[in-house]
């Protein structure tokens, strides 16, 4: 029956094995990394696919298994894994994108000195992400959550010789830590309030499912908001989105794997996994929806004015994650996860295609590109498919998932529906801009550099083609007249949200966005002029978007400087008061140590004397204790 679900625990162990082997091998075997990393992730993918296929049969039963980790007194901490429809879907997404990125990196990272280390990190990341997906309780989930954070840190800073990469890695780690602290507090609260301190997802579901249970409304809202804070950090939602664009300093395959398809989606996954807590609190749901919607439009406008190819895609990721949150906040689990599913493929595709471009053109600035379409046919076509999918042009996958979210928003909240439509329009606009600037027109300056640009090798283009196929096809699992996906994911609770208005609006803004983009950038075929035109029409707005609404500057001014100020005061206190006390304790310990060593003078007579003195002390203490009691 559940044969594959029973051995699902093997899936994360395969990439872990790859990681261990690669670490043991060291840097000397350059091709080993490619093979071992790819085989590990391929094995994990095949097994995940089998688990998923097994669950496609009618009425699959959730399977969970585990063992008692430690027993302390009455409290037993269990550790285990759980296979549900949601987790099996995530398994396939993670392992599929992971495998394709492994293959792709064989070409992209070929020249790199530390390619084996790179593959080791990627395998470690895949392991952590799969562990996170399979965790059956919040505590082990949190452990893996931190572990993926560490892997992300290592991979963003992979080229640590570049100061920007180092700074970006640090920023990513610190900013997400703020969210992690929220999640940790949520776990502590849950531990405190849950019956028998249970932290298992199944227990959480059953406790929060029946409203008015043991946990009060206020605490529920608090827990939900703290969990959401964790998700905001990890999934780059406003206001903790600032790390994600900077994270583009990492190698491009990493941007595709971690910062587009998998890890950043972990926040969405977390909310989906603890969805019952959110459903129990109206306020929390509202917060999720509004933060998501705001992030979606906010990041989309920034993406319009960025000139770095990867940064545009990064802001686009932030924006699309906002969409997913919006769907979850509106109560549509299926909508959020469906968009996560389609987005994983087309955004990974876009990043990998962008990597292919960067690989060929040796620049990330779109203003320096142009005319690459004729030289890199596969890349251009696959990028176009990804861009259209992202823009929500039917019948590509992005259209269906975006349409579902829009239909839900139309039913629930007209304001959010309008915001989502506007964000969809911006999305189509900036993707068109990107495509036109990169692939069409004449090659721009630095002729001799882009002149040598040619199509990337097959190891890089084949993953693109596979992902492009998925970007086309993945959407058909859920259409307005076929609610199969939602039905499957939520055990029959979900239904198809067919809405003619939503479809019309969705198609209209998508097409309008593309046309408008073509009108602005396509005619002139010159980025400089186009930017100038746009800037000429609305200079202030463009500048605002270009500078990312000055969020980083504001953080610098308010938090970094402010914290530094507080830090200076605290430091003074620390140095003179705490430091003094510590120093005193240290000196005391040191002095005691000296005294203890004095005993160690090599003479047996002294040793005996110490023993006798010790006996006297012990006897006196025993007598003293007896007299007292």
């Amino acid at each position: 029956m559940d044969m594959f679900a029973k051995i699902a625990w093997v899936i994360p162990l395969l990439p872990l094995a790859s990681f261990l082997i690669l670490t043991a091998l060291g840097r000397s075997y350059r091709t080993a990394g490619v093979w071992i990393g790819s085989i590990g992730s391929l094995g994990a993918f095949v097994m995940s696919l089998l688990v998923l296929l097994e669950r496609l049969k009618p009425n699959p039963v959730d399977y969970s298994n585990g063992f008692d980790w430690i027993t302390i007194g009455d409290y037993t901490l269990t550790i285990g894994y759980e296979v549900t429809n949601l987790t099996s879907l995530m398994l396939v997404i993670v392992t599929l994108v992971g495998f394709l990125v492994n293959v792709y990196s064989a070409g992209y990272m070929k020249e790199d000195e530390r390619i084996t280390v790179f593959y080791g990190y990627v395998s470690l990341f895949t392991f952590s992400m799969l562990g996170l997906v399979l965790s059956d309780n919040l505590l082990s989930f949190y452990l893996f959550w931190e572990l993926v954070g560490v892997c992300s840190f290592l991979l963003i800073g992979f080229w640590y010789a570049r100061p920007a990469a180092k700074a970006a890695a640090k920023k990513a780690f610190i900013v997400t830590r703020i969210g992690d602290a929220g999640l940790f507090l949520a776990i502590l609260l849950l531990f405190w309030y849950m019956p028998e301190h249970a932290l298992g997802f199944t227990m959480i579901e059953s406790v929060f499912d029946n409203q008015g249970g043991t946990i009060t409304e206020g605490i529920t809202t608090l827990i939900a908001l703290l969990i959401f804070l964790g998700a905001v950090g990890k999934s780059g939602q406003f206001p903790l989105h600032v790390w994600l664009p900077d994270a583009m300093e990492g190698p491009t395959p990493i941007s595709a794997l971690i910062h587009a398809a998998t890890m950043v989606a972990a926040g969405v996954f977390l909310v989906a996994r603890t969805f019952d807590i959110f459903e129990a609190s109206e306020a929390a749901m509202q917060t999720v929806a509004y933060v998501g919607a705001f992030t979606a439009i906010f990041a989309a406008t920034i993406a319009l004015a960025q000139n770095d190819l990867k940064r545009v895609l990064a802001y686009s990721t932030v924006s699309q994650l906002g969409y997913m949150m919006l769907a979850l906040g509106l109560g549509s689990l299926a909508g959020g996860i469906f968009h996560l599913f389609t987005h994983a493929f087309f955004k990974a595709l876009l990043f990998l295609a962008a990597g292919s471009v960067i690989h060929a053109a040796h620049t990330q600035d779109v203003r320096e590109m142009g005319g690459l379409g004729s030289r890199m046919k596969t890349t251009a076509w696959t990028f176009a498919i990804g861009a259209l999918a992202l823009s929500g042009i039917p019948p590509l996958s992005g259209f269906w998932s975006k349409d579902l979210i829009l239909a839900v928003a139309l039913e629930e909240n007209l304001l959010l529906f309008a915001v989502a439509l506007a964000a969809a329009f911006c999305t189509a606009l900036y993707m068109t801009r990107l495509f036109v600037l990169v692939f069409l027109g004449k090659p721009k300056q630095a002729e001799e550099r882009t002149a040598g640009a040619k199509e990337s090798p097959a190891v890089m283009t084949i993953p693109l083609i596979v992902l492009a196929a998925l970007a086309v096809a993945a959407g058909f699992v859920e259409t307005p007249w076929n609610g199969w996906f939602g039905h499957w994911l939520t055990d029959g609770a979900g239904e198809a949200h067919g809405s003619a208005i939503a479809i019309v609006c969705s198609v209209a803004v998508g097409v309008l966005g593309v046309l408008a983009g073509w009108a602005i950038w396509g005619r002139e075929r010159g980025a400089g002029e186009a930017a100038a035109t746009l800037a000429g029409r609305a200079p202030g707005l463009v500048r605002l978007a270009e500078r990312k609404y000055y969020i980083d500057e504001a953080y610098e001014a308010v938090f970094v400087r402010g914290l530094r100020g507080i830090g200076a005061v605290l430091e003074a206190f620390d140095r003179y008061v705490v430091g003094g006390a510590v120093k005193l304790a240290g000196l005391a310990a040191n002095a005691a140590g000296r005294l203890a060593l004095r005993l160690q003078n090599g003479q047996v007579q002294t040793y005996s004397l110490a023993a006798v003195l010790g006996i006297i002390v012990i006897v006196l203490a025993v007598i003293g204790r007896r007299m007292l009691s």
């Binding site: 430690i70 310990a589 140590g593 000296r594 005294l595 203890a596 060593l597 003078n601 023993a611 002390v617």
Partner: protein, 586 residues
């Protein structure tokens, strides 16, 4: 009934029951004879090490088989021989496995070092003397009677004296042995003296009989009972190197070959600790049974004294280690502090709310075995590579031998008691146990000493990762070391040189005849590692047996740090305080 069966002699069928010990004894005799009769240089005797290992493993298999057999029935049976003076129970069997495993690891360490240590003249003895030592420890584990206990203890002690002095060409080793013999002899005398008082007031040397007679005895001869237990405790405290009776251990570990130091730190200490547990838990713990007020007071006082010794050990051990620059002496002090941790579950006693002290003790003993033997194993390779045992030798280890440095980091993590290591859970279980028994002051001492200990444990890590250099001593330092023998800031030389002046004269002839007429570097640095073939050049070479030890210890330490439950479950399922400590006619 003990009284009736007291003089029932051993039957032939009992040989099967005592087989593990007898195998070790017979194997020992065989190896002695082989070593004497077979030709060849006495310095090439690795095969004896191999055979010793085989003997230990064989005995281990026998113990294991017996244990499985005994746990077949429910409740687990206890076999007792000679009127319960020799008893096979689960506590004893677990301990025997501990002793055999520890000794086997020490043999592996010896295989990695003895061959190259020119100060050891008889390589054969080095290995096969471990057999009677292990046998003594096993006898202690199986004793239900003070006499058997004492004989086992002496068998272990006397062989240990010889083992500690095996580096016959080294002055430091001779001095260490001398001190060890004196201190060990005094402690044995104390134990015997205490036992005689106990026999005097209870009229028996059987632990069972003592337990039964104790409430009456304490009512009429309270002071004698106190003297008896007090002297025994003091004597055992010397054996387990608990402060303030620990001072010998630093000198002895430094002078003894490193693997022997590891044996003393782990096997001797573990066996003696287990004895303290067995004696106290079979006698004093029940002194108050039947509502005897004086008996209850006796129990409280003795257990309190044990906790006091534990507290002093933890604090003194960690504080003294803060300024210690020699790694062997550092490990000795770490052993002192760990003896303190290990005494806590004994001193906490068994109450209704807290009854799994033995599990806590054995779990931490296993953790202690892994981390201490692993650390000593690393020390043998590092010491050999740089020619001394100073902390400086670890400088830049990460760059010279990254894998060994990584393993050492795992072991140090465990010694410091940080998570994902066996030491963490070992300390946590003991801590929670003590808190459960409401001994909050000892919990505070444990936490405090753990925090202090981070300083010097991380000093080791800092040396390995953040200091560059090959760990060699400069010429000037070498001179100063040769003058003072040790870098102790307190100037331990003063006392040491006195001893030298006596023995030094005698040893001088031997010393001058060091390899190649050169001044023996061992004399200077005073380490086991120094007088090895060739000049040390800072390159770390890990012999295969040592490598096995390092990695087995490091991996098991981490494995227990991630999954402590299986071991806890095994100990819990096997051991029961009622069947193992209070058997027979209860």
């Amino acid at each position: 009934m003990p009284g009736e069966t007291l003089f029932e002699p051993l039957r032939w069928s009992d040989i099967g029951i005592m087989a593990p010990e007898l195998v070790l004894g017979a194997w020992f005799v065989l190896l002695v004879v082989l070593d004497l009769l077979l030709p060849g240089r006495a310095s090439r005797r690795s095969w004896i090490g191999g055979l010793t290992l085989a003997g230990l493993l064989g005995a281990g298999v026998l113990v294991l088989l017996r244990m499985i057999d005994m746990n077949g029935s429910e409740p687990a049976e206890v076999i007792s021989l000679l009127g319960d003076s020799y008893r096979i129970d689960d506590f004893g069997s677990l301990l025997k496995l501990f002793v055999l495993a520890g000794t086997a690891v020490v043999v592996l360490l010896g295989l990695g070092t003895a061959e190259r240590d020119s100060a050891i003249t008889d390589k054969g003895e080095y290995f096969y003397l471990l057999l009677p030592a292990a046998m003594g420890a096993m006898m202690m584990a199986s004793s239900g009677n003070l006499i058997t206990l004492y004989i086992g203890l002496e068998l272990l002690s006397i062989t240990s004296y010889v083992l500690a002095g095996l580096r016959r060409k080294s002055l430091l080793s001779a001095e260490a042995t001398f001190k060890y013999v004196i201190t060990g002899g005094v402690s044995s005398a104390f134990i015997l003296f205490g036992m005689s008082y106990l026999y005097g007031v209870t009229g028996s040397v059987q632990l069972d009989a003592i337990r039964e007679a104790l409430p009456a005895a304490v009512a009429s001869y309270e002071a004698f009972v106190y003297v008896g237990f007090g002297c025994m405790l003091a004597g055992f405290a010397v054996k387990i190197a608990a402060a303030p009776f620990h001072a010998w251990s630093l000198d002895v570990y430094q002078g003894a070959p490193t693997p022997v130091a590891a044996f003393l730190a782990v096997v001797s200490k573990g066996a003696a600790l287990a004895m303290v547990l067995r004696i106290l838990f079979s006698t004093v713990l029940f002194a108050g049974v039947g509502g005897s007020v004086i008996g209850t007071a006796l129990k409280d006082d003795i257990l309190f004294a044990v906790l006091l010794v534990a507290a002093i050990s933890m604090l003194l051990g960690t504080l003294a280690a803060l300024r210690q620059k020699n790694v062997k002496r550092l490990l000795a002090l770490s052993g002192v502090a760990n003896a303190g941790y290990l005494l806590v579950p004994i001193g906490a006693g068994v109450t209704m709310t807290h009854s799994n002290n033995v599990t806590e003790l054995i779990f931490y003993l296993v953790a202690y075995l892994l981390m201490t033997l692993g650390a000593f194993a690393v020390l043998t390779v590092v010491g050999r590579s740089v020619g001394h045992d100073e902390l400086k030798g670890f400088a830049g280890m990460y760059y010279r031998a990254p894998w060994t440095a990584a393993a050492m980091t795992a072991l140090v993590l465990s010694l410091a008691g940080l998570p994902v290591s066996a030491g963490f859970f070992g300390k946590l279980f003991i801590l929670l146990g003590a808190a459960n028994g409401k001994y909050y002051w000892i919990v505070a001492v444990m936490v405090l000493s753990s925090v202090i200990s981070y300083y010097f444990y991380f000093g080791l890590v800092r040396q390995m990762f953040m200091r560059s250099g090959d760990g060699m001593l400069s010429e000037r330092e070498r001179l100063s070391v040769s003058e003072y023998e040790s870098l102790d800031e307190s100037g331990s030389a003063r006392g040491r040189t006195q001893a030298e002046s006596v023995i030094g004269e005698l040893a001088a002839g031997v010393e001058d005849g060091g390899p190649g007429g050169q001044p023996d570097p061992a004399y200077g640095a005073g380490t086991a590692a120094a007088d090895l073939e060739g000049r040390p050049d800072g390159t770390v070479r890990v012999p295969v047996p040592t490598g096995i030890v390092i990695w087995a210890c490091a991996i098991l330490t981490l494995a227990l740090g991630i999954f402590p439950q299986p071991l806890v479950a095994v100990i819990d399922s096997v051991f029961s305080i009622l069947t193992d400590f209070v058997p027979m006619d209860r």
